[in-house]
Each structure stands twice: as C-alpha cells, then as structure tokens.
Amino acid sequence: MQKRFVSIWFRHLITDWLTLRRPELKVVPFVFITPVRGRVVITAANALAESHGITTGMAAADAKAIVPSLEVVDDMPGQAAKLLKALGEWCIRYTPSIAIDLPDGLMLDVSGCAHLWGGERAYLGTIIKVLRSKGYDARGAMADTAGTAWAVARFGRLKPIIEPGAQADALLALPPAALRLEPIILERLQKLGFYTVKSFIGMGRSVLRRRFGQDFLLRLDQALGNKDEPLELLQPVEPYQERLPCLEPIRTATGIEIAIKKLLETLCQRLQGEGKGLRMAVLKCYRVDGQLVEVNIGTNRASHHIGHLFKLFQLKIASIEPALGIELFVLEAPKVEDMDPEQEVLWLPAGCGLADLSLAELLDRLANKIGAGNIHRYLPQEHHWPERSIKIAPSLREKPTTTWRTDRPRPSLLLPRPERIEVTALIPDYPPMLFIYKNKVHQVKKADGPERIEREWWLEAGEHRDYYYVEDQDGSRYWLFRSGHYSGNQAGQWFIHGFFA
C-alpha cells in the first residue's frame, strides 16, 4: 500500500503552552532558561522574543541586553515530551498510528486516512488549522516518507504536500540540515560548501560513505524512501482487539457475563477464520468514574473455543469491581499462536495423554484460579544427587531429554530435607543395626547398600552420602544415609531421607 506520512512541527511548543496557561504573556517577549556550565542559557524563546533577534542557545544576559523588558521563566525538563504525548493522543482522531518526534514534533502515519477528510489538502489543512486555533504554532507537511515530511515541514517554502514519488525533487533545494543529520556532519558539509541537498545527492555512495559515514547514507535513504523507517507508536495497535461500548453502564455480574460472551464470539470467530488461537487474553473494563479494571487469562495451548475461554473469564468475574458502572469493554489478545485444526478421531482411546484437549482446558482453569506456578510436572535430569535428579517441566509439550533411571531403588516419599537420626552401626561401612527416628527404635533386619552418591563439587561443596535401603522389624522400609566418612569422634552424621513402598 502507498505509505503517506505527516510531520507536524511545533515551532514554539513550550512557549505556546505557557502562553495558553498565562494569557498575560501573549504580548510580552519571554524566554525559558536553564543554567549550563555556570552560564544561564536560553532553551526556548517565544515568537515575540525571536523577532527581536533572540535565539535558543544564547546567554540570558545577552538577551536581557537586547530586550530589557524580557521575561525569564525557568525551564521545565520533560515538559516538551509530556506535551507532545498529550497532543499525540489528541491527534489519534486523525490516524491511529502516531509517534512522538522529539524534541518538537509529531510523526503521523496517515496511509489510507486522508480520503475520509476529503483529500490530502483538506486533511492536512484541518489538522494544522485546528492545532493553530488551539494556540499552537504548528507547521505540517505530507510526503511518502517520514524523512521528507520532516524536512518539508521544517525547511520547505513552496508547498506542504509532496506528490507520491516526488520526494527527491522536494529535497533538492533544502539545506542538509533537513536530513536530520548529526551537528558534526552538518558542520563538515558546511565547510565543504554543500549548502543544499542538490549539491551532493548525485555523488557516488562510496564517496559519501567514506566522508560522512553510514548514518549519513541511512538518513538519505530514509528520506528518499529506499529504506523503511519504523515508527515507535504512541499507542501500538493491537492486532486482535474487540470493543463493546455499552449504552447504559453495566453494573451486574450477569451484564459482564453477556459482554464477555459477545466479545469472545466476535474475537473467536476471527481467530478461527485465520486458523489461530489465543494464548493470553486481557479484558479491559473502562468505568464511568474514569478507572480502568483489567483481568487477564492465559491458556496452556492456543484456543478459540468460546465455551472454554468464557469459563476462564467466569472465574475472574468476581474480581471485577464495577463501582458506578462499566461503559466500555475491550478484549485484547496480545499473544496469539497458530492452531492445528482438530482432527476427528475414529477410535477414542481411553486416556488421550498430555495432548488431550480437555486436560489442557482443565489445567487452564486450575492455573487461572490458583496460579500456574502451583502446577508442576517433572522431567529427569542427569544428576545422581536425589534432590537434583528431577527438574520442573516448563510446558506440557516438553519431552524428557534423558530416560528415567530404574537401575537404583528410589523411595516413594522423599523428605524435603534429610532428618537427623541416632544410629548404631559397625564401622567402616556396614548398614546400621538400629536407628532412632522420632523417639522410636527401629531394629534393622534387612539392608541393602551402600550406594555412594558424590556431591557435585562444581555445584556445591560438602560431604558425599552413603545411602542404605533398610527394613526394620515391622517391615517398614527406609532410605538412610551417612554423610561423609567416619572421622574421629564425630557423631550424628546419619540421616533419614525417605520412605520406600
């Protein structure tokens, strides 16, 4: 599609704003000042002050000498960005894609918008006229590229609307500063006598790159339209979004339910048509009192099943506080994935495994109520150390990378941390004859072991463990270990770590 951009330049952005707030300043020359390296320097001057020859970057004392009645206001850092953001948000009525162009402009991507205002001339005229009537001294230009629009808005003399494909002609007569170059390059161009774009645009690229660098060529290409220039949008356009404005503010749970159902129907229909499913959805409720209530849901696998998604939202309805009423519902799907169409199965196996749809839906419901962090699935890990022999699987689809080991007995129950026991055992490496755990004496009747498990020294320091699989007089089976070797009169180095079936 043919791209069209509008650049708006606010010549006296911050001074215009102050004039609007303090109308008495309209007839007074005034400047914004800020101290820089011990000097007080002017950062912005209003039109009246500029007509006296005062420019930004001038020392405040010099300006005072030129115009003794000069008003001086302290600079407010960040104010320009704040103002541009507000102006940009206001401009969303003209186009949805708007970027802030610091320090003093806006960049509008108006592709396909102008005809709604009756042509490009009327469109640009409307924007500029409205902005001027609000009190901002705005200049605008329209072109195929953001770079050319920027240049013409600031340096153009003849006409603000550049015909499609004519950006090279429009740039010819403009100074090099119109290309948004670094001050150091501009200075070099000035020294070499390149006063207009015309004087160097015909030169070879390699020559220009050698003298002025890659950035210079990039700016030139962006202005001419050979390279794309992405805009950082003020409000990124959500590709999957549905809106539901309400005539009457909604205050009841039933009302919210109906709203969610309606939104899901339209959104899911669209997703289904495109063969996609959502992984995350956000419901934004704009309340009458200006507050915004948000609830979000996540799913384990892409889904466009209305019933399932509605159930997930149903669990969250209790947390939506309608207060005086909700006037606008917006449903967004920030995370969308491709979905394989479900195949009809001829034979339904008894359990369908991890890929089963109803299982994924069950886990979604659980995760949305109790938090996804409480649902675990484990995969084997190549460590002998029992605590490290398993890891949490990040998703349902994750397959084990190694096999589960079966060569060594492992207890059914594992204590979260080993507990100390009193033991009578023969040295050097016999299993215990008896042990005392929780004040109960267990006579060891049968034993297996030891199985020595070394601590992984590259992960942590400490003693190795010698594990024994023992059975006591009642037939209960335990997993005991001795930490390290016997040394001197060291006592209490025996632990119980688990229970066997």
Binding site: G353, N374, I375, I390, R410, E471, R477
Partner: protein, 243 residues
C-alpha cells in the same frame, strides 16, 4: 413363583450396580489389575475403576506403602497413555519412584496448593475431566456432602479417584466405594540372600460397598501384583450389603 422373583431381584441388583458405577466384567478385560483374590471381594468380582477409593495412611511408612500400591493400580489405568493428576497441600512423593511401578513420572501432573478449600475445588474440577486416567488427592477432611459432590462428578466422567486420608479419626462416612489401608510387611528373600526383597504389603479392605471386606498379603514383583497366600480372613461378619 419364587424363581422368577429371584431373577427379577438379581436383575435389579445388577442395574443398581451399574448405576453406581460398577461395570460388568467384559471378556478379556477381567483381572487387568492383577489383584487376584482382592478383586473377588468386589461386586461382580471386578475392581471398580471409575469410582472413588479412600486410602487411610496415618504414618509416613503407610503413606509410602499406599503410594506404591496405588501406583501399581494406576499403571494399568494409564496403559493407554492417560495422564494422572496428584493434588495436595504437602506433597512428599518423589516422582522418580513411580518408575519402579512402571508409571512414567512425566505423565503425572502435580498440583500443589496452600489451602484445603482449593484442594476440594481442584479435585472436583479434575474429576469432571474425562481426559484423565486417575486423580489422587491428599485430603485432611471431607464431609459427606463434599464426598457426594465428588461421587457425582465421577459418575459422569468415569475417572478413578483416590483420596489419601492421613487422619483415621476424621474418616467419617463418605460415598467412597472402598476404604483401604495398606501397611508394609517384611519382605521375603529366597534362601539366605542378602539385601531387601520386593515390597510386600498387608492390604486391608476396611469397607466396600456391596462387597466383602477382607485382608490380603500382596507383593509387587516383576511389574505386577502377586498374592502371597489365599485370602486369610474374609470377615463374613463384617459383610455389609449397602454401603
């Protein structure tokens, strides 16, 4: 005509059993759990899958034995690639141990919760899900009404549920089909071999609806259950007709 009356009554009994979730033995399907004499204690001689069982395990030793016995049953439930859900508040189960009972630990999903209230909610949701082979729940308390809700969920979905109860004093009346208690027994080794033998348990069926409570000795050897002796004592006196 007492004969036809008997026929009617036995037919009605069968219908009631069907309504309560007991399946009639299908050809080639009987004894899939390999529990041998234990299964004879159940109505129709079939282990009732698709219902809720209650396991009493007050001590960690018994809990470990119960986990082993239960995993042995789940193995056959998960044969066709099903998934199992384990819900609890303070889980100690060590997943790699499931491999010893032929259950792949990565096919077990653990839901670890903080509150008992959430456990009941999650259990009910899970039991309604037909894609699961079994649901295991560690529960401290459950009222009769709550257990009835679970029973209703199971009746539609045919998922097998296991409630692990660690406090026998709080085990009141529930709608569960059976109440078990598994206690570890000393293992036996051939001859004078050193080491520890196959896990062996005392399996007590304390309560069973429409069946015969009893007590058996079972060993898990070579990937299947092995009954050690014939039923020691089927306690005919404790027989109950209607759970």
């Amino acid at each position: 005509m007492p004969d036809s009356k008997k026929n009617i009554i036995s037919q009605l009994r069968k219908d009631i059993l069907l309504l309560e979730g007991f399946k009639l033995p299908q050809t080639g399907n009987a004894d899939i759990f390999g529990l041998g004499p234990v299964e004879a204690a159940f109505p129709n001689g079939v282990f009732p899958a698709g219902t809720i069982h209650e396991m009493i395990c007050p001590t960690p030793e018994q809990a470990a034995a119960t986990a082993g016995f239960m995993t042995g049953i789940i193995t056959s439930l998960m044969k066709q690639g099903g998934v199992c859900l384990w819900i609890g508040t303070s889980r100690k189960l060590f997943p790699p141990s499931l491999m010893g009972f032929d259950v792949e630990p990565d096919r077990m999903i653990f839901v670890d919760l903080q509150r008992e209230k959430d456990v009941l909610w999650a259990t009910e949701e899970a039991l309604k899900c037909e894609g699961l082979a079994a649901v295991i729940v560690e529960l401290r308390e459950i009222s009769f009404a709550q257990s009835r809700r679970l029973q209703l969920a199971v009746e539609n979905s045919k998922v097998t549920g296991f409630l692990l109860r660690n406090d026998p004093r709080k085990a009141g009346t529930t709608t569960c089909v059976a109440r078990w208690q598994i206690t570890p027994l000393p293992s036996k080794l051939e001859g004078e071999l050193p080491g520890v033998g196959f896990p062996r348990w005392q399996v007590d069926l304390l309560k069973v609806r429409n069946g015969y409570p009893g007590s058996w000795k079972i060993e898990w050897a070579g990937g299947r259950f092995v009954a050690i002796e014939e039923t020691i004592a089927v306690n005919e006196l404790q027989e109950r007709k209607a759970g």
